[in-house]
């Protein structure tokens, strides 16, 4: 079975600074990886995903994540964060045995001026 570990429960960062949210997974089969975001008082929404092909995937609002099979990681990065990026970020893994999503515990990103 697959599982996800998000190494940081909270990440405080100043506006315009770079940020990395870490995610490691464990699985014995091919995996598909996702980052979901939950803004304050809103539902979960997909930020980006890796299914196959290029190991670097990007979102429309400047986040990127790189699938690293050797390190079993899928870290999320942004070179310059905005106040509006303040949210809870969840890493999730799935495989083709059932396609159910297994989520990590989440990382709370707090961006301050």
């Amino acid at each position: 079975a697959q599982s996800v570990t998000q190494l940081d429960s909270q990440v405080p960062v100043f506006e315009e600074a770079p940020v990395e949210l870490r995610c490691n997974y464990s699985s014995s089969v091919s995996v598909y990886l996702f980052w979901y975001v939950q803004y304050p008082n809103q539902g979960l929404q997909l930020l980006l995903k890796y299914l196959s092909g290029s190991t670097l995937v990007e979102s429309i609002n400047g986040f990127e994540a790189e699938f690293n099979k050797s390190q079993t990681s899928f870290h999320l990065r942004k070179p310059s964060v905005h106040i509006s990026d303040t949210a809870e970020y969840f890493c999730a893994v799935s495989d083709n045995s059932g396609y159910a999503l297994n989520f990590g515990k989440g990382t709370s990103l707090l961006v301050t001026p």
Partner: protein
């Protein structure tokens, strides 16, 4: 396009009482999911429907939890009787098809069991 609707948004009950949650997925979405999110944890899949059939209910505590999607559209999740440890946010999500289609989440129902 309307999103996933859930009701109620909040519910407070005493332990051993019963409670039901309702979900209406995005129109045309064949797959519906119920997740449980306990405070400080990520969502955990309880049950997955494909149209009106159950695909995966391996993590559903069947002695107290039940769910149905009779007409392949909206769904209800029931807890009977509730325990203190059932306090959580119950999330409903839907996707166009099974597999790796994006899952769209509703706002959730926050359940408090006293």
């Amino acid at each position: 396009e309307a999103g996933v609707a859930q009701s109620p948004r909040y519910k407070i009950i005493e332990k051993r009482q019963s409670v039901a949650f309702w979900c209406n997925p995005i129109s045309g979405h064949a797959t519906l999911y119920w997740y449980q999110q306990i405070l400080g944890q990520g969502p955990k899949l309880l049950i997955q429907f494909q149209n009106n059939g159950v695909v995966d209910d391996s993590q559903l505590p069947k002695d107290r939890f039940s769910a149905e999607r009779l007409k392949g559209v909206d769904s209800t999740l029931k807890i009977q009787p509730a325990k203190l440890e059932d306090s959580a946010v119950y999330l409903c999500a839907s996707s166009f098809f099974r597999g790796l289609d994006e899952q769209f989440f509703g706002p959730g129902t926050r359940l408090t069991v006293l």
